[in-house]
C-alpha cells in the first residue's frame, strides 16, 4: 500500500492497467504431477505469478516431541526465490513468509483428514519463482492441486482469490501495481465443497459494506480458480489413462536376448 507515483490504475473506461475489467481474474494455468520425486506436485501460472508446489507424506513426524497423538500435522513452507521479484529478495525465511506458511497450513488443516495419520506430518513446499501480487493465494491454489495429486483425502478442494480497493473501486485479483499502490487487499480461500472460508486476511481499509461486497466478489472469482484446478487434475489423470489406452507396446528385447540371437546367427 505504497504512495502512488501518479499511475492511473483504472482508466476512464473502467479498465485496469492490464486491460481487465474490475471483476476479471488473470489467466490461470495449472499443471499437476510435474515433479517425480514428490508424492504430489503442481506448477501454476497465474498472470505473472509462477509457483511450484510439492507435497511429501504423510510420513512420521520427527522429532517426536512435535507429533500430535491423534492427528497429523500439516507443515507448510512458503518461500520466495531470490530472483522472484524485481529487487533481489534476500533468501531465507522472514517474517512475511513465516506468516504466510502458517496461514496456509491452518487453511489446509481444515480440509485434510488429519485424523487418518496420527503422529504423522504432511509437508507442503511452495516456491514462488516469479511474483506479481497475490502469491499467497497462488501458492495455496497450487498446493491444493498438489495435495489432490498426492492422493491425500480431503473434505474438498481449496480455491482462493483476492479482492482489493484500487482508486476507490473494488477489483478482483490485484496485479503488481494495484497491490503496491491500491488502498486495500482481501485474500480469501474457500473449501469449494462446503463453502467454508478457510483463509481470510485483510490489508488496508474497507468499510463494512465494501468488505461484504469484496467478499462476494472473491467467492465468485474462486469458482474460476476452482475450475482451473479441476481441469489440471482431470488432465493429469485422464492423460495418464489416455496414454495407457494406446496399444500395448511390443516387448523390448533384452541385451541377453539380443546376444543370444547374435550367437545363434553366427552358429548358423
Amino acid at each position: 500500500m505504497g504512495v502512488n507515483p501518479g499511475i492511473e490504475l483504472i482508466d476512464k473506461n473502467g479498465k485496469r492497467t492490464d486491460g481487465r475489467k474490475v471483476d476479471e481474474v488473470r489467466p490461470i494455468h495449472i499443471e499437476a504431477g510435474v515433479l517425480h520425486r514428490a508424492d504430489g506436485s503442481a506448477y501454476l501460472e497465474w498472470g505473472n505469478n509462477k509457483v511450484m508446489a510439492a507435497v511429501y507424506g504423510p510420513r512420521e513426524f520427527n522429532p517426536r516431541r512435535f507429533q500430535k497423538a491423534d492427528k497429523c500435522v500439516v507443515r507448510c513452507k512458503y518461500n520466495m526465490a531470490a530472483f522472484s521479484t524485481s529487487d533481489r529478495k534476500r533468501p531465507g525465511p522472514d517474517r512475511r513468509s513465516q506468516e504466510i506458511s502458517k496461514v496456509i497450513a491452518d487453511a489446509f488443516e481444515n480440509v485434510v483428514l488429519t485424523e487418518k495419520w496420527p503422529r504423522g506430518v504432511i509437508d507442503i513446499n511452495m516456491e514462488i519463482l516469479q511474483a506479481d501480487a497475490g502469491t499467497r493465494i497462488a501458492a495455496l491454489t497450487a498446493a491444493a492441486v498438489a495435495l489432490a495429486d498426492a492422493g491425500i483425502p480431503m473434505k474438498g478442494m481449496v480455491a482462493g482469490c483476492a479482492t482489493g480497493k484500487v482508486d476507490g473501486k473494488l477489483c478482483v485479483d490485484l496485479n503488481g501495481p494495484e497491490d503496491n499502490y491500491g488502498e486495500s487487499d482481501l485474500p480469501v480461500a474457500v473449501n469449494m465443497t462446503t463453502g467454508e472460508i478457510v483463509l481470510l486476511q485483510m490489508d488496508g481499509h474497507l468499510t463494512g459494506r465494501e468488505f461484504e461486497k469484496a467478499l462476494d466478489m472473491t467467492v465468485k472469482a474462486c469458482d474460476q480458480v476452482y475450475q482451473a484446478q479441476r481441469d489440471a487434475l482431470e488432465r493429469r489423470f485422464t492423460a495418464k489413462l489416455d496414454e495407457l489406452e494406446k496399444d500395448t507396446p511390443a516387448p523390448r528385447r533384452g541385451k541377453q536376448q539380443e546376444a543370444k540371437e547374435v550367437v545363434e546367427a553366427e552358429v548358423a
Partner: protein, 234 residues
C-alpha cells in the same frame, strides 16, 4: 470392467445418500455422498467407492509385506514397510533365539524381509513379525516397487493375474501388500516378470487388462513355461 469409469476429484458430490452407500474413499455428508479422494468411481450393488490413482500404503493387521531393515537396536529392528510410520519388530517376533544386543548378527540395515503386520493400534503403532509360515529373510533376487494402490490388480482376483505371469515366467515371485515385489530367478525371467508387472501397474485402471498382459507375455515368450519344457525335452 467393460466401460470407462468416471473420474472424480476430492470433494465432488457422487450421488444421493438414499441411493448409494459410501464405502472406501468417500463419505456421507448430509444427504449426499462426497468423494474424499481423487480417483475413479466404482458403483456396485448400491455401494459406491473411489479407487484412488495415487496414495500411500496403509498397514492393516494380517497384511504380508516386504520390509527393509532400517535400524538394528539391541532389542528390536526397525523395519521400513513403505507406510507413513516405521514398524518395529521385537526380537521375540523373530524366528531365531536372539540374545540382547545380538540383533546385528541376524538382520542388518538394508536386509529385506518378508514379514506380516502383527497389529496396528489406534495410534497407528505398527508391529511386524517373522513368526509365521513362509515368512523369512529374503536372500538373493531383486526388489521392485509399484504404487501400493496397484497391488490389487497385480495379484488379480484370487491371484489370477499372478498365476498368469507364472504361466509364462519361471521364477519366484512375491507381491507384498505395500507394493514391494520380490522376484528371484534367472535374469531373463526376472526381466520379463518385471516388465509384465510394470505393464499391469501402468495400466491397472483400464479395461481388458488381463488380455493385454497375456498378449504381452505371449509375444515375449510364445507358449509360456510349458513351451520351454517341451523344447528342452526335444
Amino acid at each position: 470392467m467393460s466401460q470407462k469409469r468416471e473420474l472424480v476429484i476430492a470433494g465432488d458430490a457422487i450421488g444421493p445418500a438414499s441411493e448409494w452407500k459410501a464405502t472406501t474413499g468417500c463419505k456421507q455428508v448430509g444427504d449426499v455422498v462426497v468423494a474424499l479422494q481423487s480417483g475413479l468411481l466404482a458403483k456396485y450393488n448400491g455401494k459406491v467407492s473411489v479407487i484412488p490413482l495415487n496414495g500411500s500404503y496403509e498397514p492393516r493387521a494380517g497384511d504380508t509385506v516386504v520390509g527393509i531393515v532400517s535400524e538394528a537396536n539391541p532389542g528390536n529392528w526397525i523395519i521400513d514397510i513403505r507406510a507413513p510410520w516405521d514398524a518395529p519388530m521385537h526380537v521375540s517376533e523373530a524366528p531365531w533365539r536372539v540374545d540382547f544386543g545380538e540383533t546385528m548378527a541376524y538382520l542388518r540395515p538394508g536386509d529385506a524381509i518378508l514379514c506380516k503386520i502383527l497389529f496396528v493400534d489406534g495410534q497407528k503403532k505398527v508391529q511386524v513379525t517373522l513368526k509365521d509360515r513362509n515368512l523369512t529373510k529374503l536372500e538373493g533376487g531383486e526388489l521392485m516397487e509399484v504404487p501400493p494402490v496397484k497391488v490389487a490388480r497385480i495379484i488379480g482376483k484370487n491371484g489370477s493375474m499372478l498365476n498368469l505371469i507364472k504361466e509364462y515366467v519361471e521364477c519366484w515371485l512375491f507381491v507384498g501388500q505395500n507394493g514391494r515385489i520380490w522376484i528371484n530367478g534367472e535374469p531373463d525371467e526376472v526381466l520379463l516378470a518385471k516388465r509384465a508387472i510394470r505393464l499391469i501397474a501402468d495400466e491397472a485402471h483400464l479395461p481388458g487388462l488381463t488380455d493385454r498382459v497375456r498378449a504381452f507375455l505371449e509375444a515375449s515368450k510364445p507358449g509360456g513355461v510349458d513351451a520351454d519344457l517341451f523344447t528342452e525335452e526335444e
